[in-house]
Amino acid sequence: MSLITPDFGLIFWMVVIFGVVFFILAKFGFPVITKAVRKRSEHIEDALREAERARLSVQEAAIQRQQMLEQTRTEQGKILQDASKAKEAILSEARAKAQEEAAEMLRGAREEIAAEKESALREIRSEVSALSLAVAEKIVRKELEETPEQLALMERLSDEASAPPAN
């Protein structure tokens, strides 16, 4: 029967001992441990989240880099194409201009030559007419008197002579 009758002395001591143990452990024992472990698991969770975020941003940066690289490449191609086009255009323009200038110079030269020829011909003609006049004068002075009919004839003759050939 004594087995199931709680003894007062033991109850008293148990209350005291358990009370003291509870007080000590609840104040200096378990909260320290559980708080530390809780804090650590939060810390680990944070670190994991941070790592995930870092991983994502690295991935994003890689994608961005790839995009930039591709963009640069297309731009480079475009620039090269433009440059070659511009080169072509400049070359053809220069060629055309040179041709035009050459033609212009040729034409100028031809005109000058023609003018020179004309003036030379005119000079020659007047020279020839003066010469023939002098010759005729000399001949005529010998044979003819200076009559008005003869003078008119001479005039006509010299005009005929100074006129350009009919053909």
Binding site: L3, P6, G9, V21, L25, T34, V37
Partner: protein, 351 residues
């Protein structure tokens, strides 16, 4: 190979033990009193009996403290063998208050606050527990626990503490668990260490502490206080004015049942722990008693049954290790559940 080894073991047991038995004169040795043997081991005592060598008891005397119109403190050695000291003696077998200190004059009981075997065991186990937990807590104070993995004692205790807190306390108590977790953890480890020390057969252990109804009574009382002192409005409404048809509470049938339930819950905690630990001790003692009971029945029977007793003892010890943990776990879990029930928030009634 296997049967061979078993046979060798059996032979060894059979050969060794009879020699020992033959060496001692068995014929005139008194027959073992099973009742005294078992109850002597599982009940509380004023001295801590360690062993009996050649009929001489080796025990540690413990202080007796009696409050009876003044404080009387004396060693329990003075009350040995029914002796009387300062007007007190230990009541003999068959008398009222058997085995307790009584007044020598009329056999009545004074207020007895003696440091008995169980009190002494409680103190030793509590010191061990407090030192273990404080050493573990010190590790967290002294180390950068965010960067270092726990070592040594902290590594041993941390998983247990966190398993109990996360899987038992947090689940059962609910969102308010942080307020109650120190009590529940203390209860768990207090019961666990006392259970485990109860299995250790020699001096600092071996006291049947958690198998004593006074100890489990106090533990259940603490849980009762924790449940009822911090219960919320909904809890008290459920007890005093439950959600049942009016005629069941106009004549307070349901409140009476609910109030009874307030006490039966911790009562079940008390009896469960007490009965489990007591039964475990009795089983182990009975297994060992086989050896002594059969001592006079001839070498063969004694030898073979001793072997059986040792095997059975090993098995029961393993079982008790398991039970020590399970009972601490169950006590903590049910305490958590009771505390959790007192902190429920009323859900919207759907019916």
């Amino acid at each position: 190979m296997r049967p061979n080894r078993l046979t060798v073991l059996l032979l060894l047991a059979a050969l060794l033990l009879p020699v020992h038995a033959a060496a001692a004169p068995q014929e005139d040795a008194p027959a073992i009193d099973m009742n005294e043997y078992i109850f002597g081991h599982i009940s509380d005592a004023y001295e801590w009996h360690i062993a009996t060598v050649n009929g001489k008891h080796i025990s540690i005397p413990l202080p007796c403290i009696v409050i009876d119109g003044g404080v009387h403190v004396f060693s329990s050695a003075r009350l040995g063998h029914g002796e009387e000291y300062q007007g007190y003696r230990i009541a003999a077998t068959g008398q009222p208050h058997e085995g307790k200190i009584v007044r020598a004059a009329d056999g009545s009981r004074p207020v007895d606050l003696s440091v008995t075997k169980n009190v002494c065991g409680l103190i030793i186990d509590s010191i061990i527990l407090v030192v273990l937990i404080l050493l573990c807590a010190r590790w967290y104070r002294r180390h950068d626990y965010l960067k270092e993995a726990p070592k040594g004692l902290a590594a041993l205790l941390e998983p247990v503490i966190m398993t109990i807190e996360n899987d038992v306390i947090k689940e059962a108590v609910g969102p308010d668990y942080k307020r109650f977790s120190p009590y529940l953890l203390t209860a768990f480890f207090f019961i666990l260490i006392n259970n485990l020390m109860g299995i250790v057969p020699i001096f600092p252990g071996g006291a049947n502490i958690t198998g004593n109804i006074a100890v489990t009574f106090v533990l259940a009382l603490f849980t009762f206080l924790m449940v009822n002192l911090f219960g919320n409005k909904h809890y008290w409404k459920d007890i005093l004015w439950p959600d049942v048809p009016l005629f069941l509470k106009a004549i307070p049938i349901m409140p009476a049942i609910e109030i009874l339930g307030m006490f039966t819950k911790p009562f079940s905690l008390m009896v469960r722990l007490f009965a489990n630990m007591l039964a475990g001790h009795i089983m182990l003692l009975s297994a060992v008693a086989l050896i002594f009971l059969t001592a006079k029945m001839g070498p063969l029977l004694n030898g073979s049954l001793s072997f059986v007793a040792v095997v059975l003892g090993i098995f029961l010890d393993c079982l008790e290790l398991l039970v020590a943990f399970i009972q601490a776990y169950v006590f903590t879990m049910l305490s958590s559940v009771f505390i959790g029930l007192a902190h429920q928030h009323p859900e919207k009634e759907t019916h």
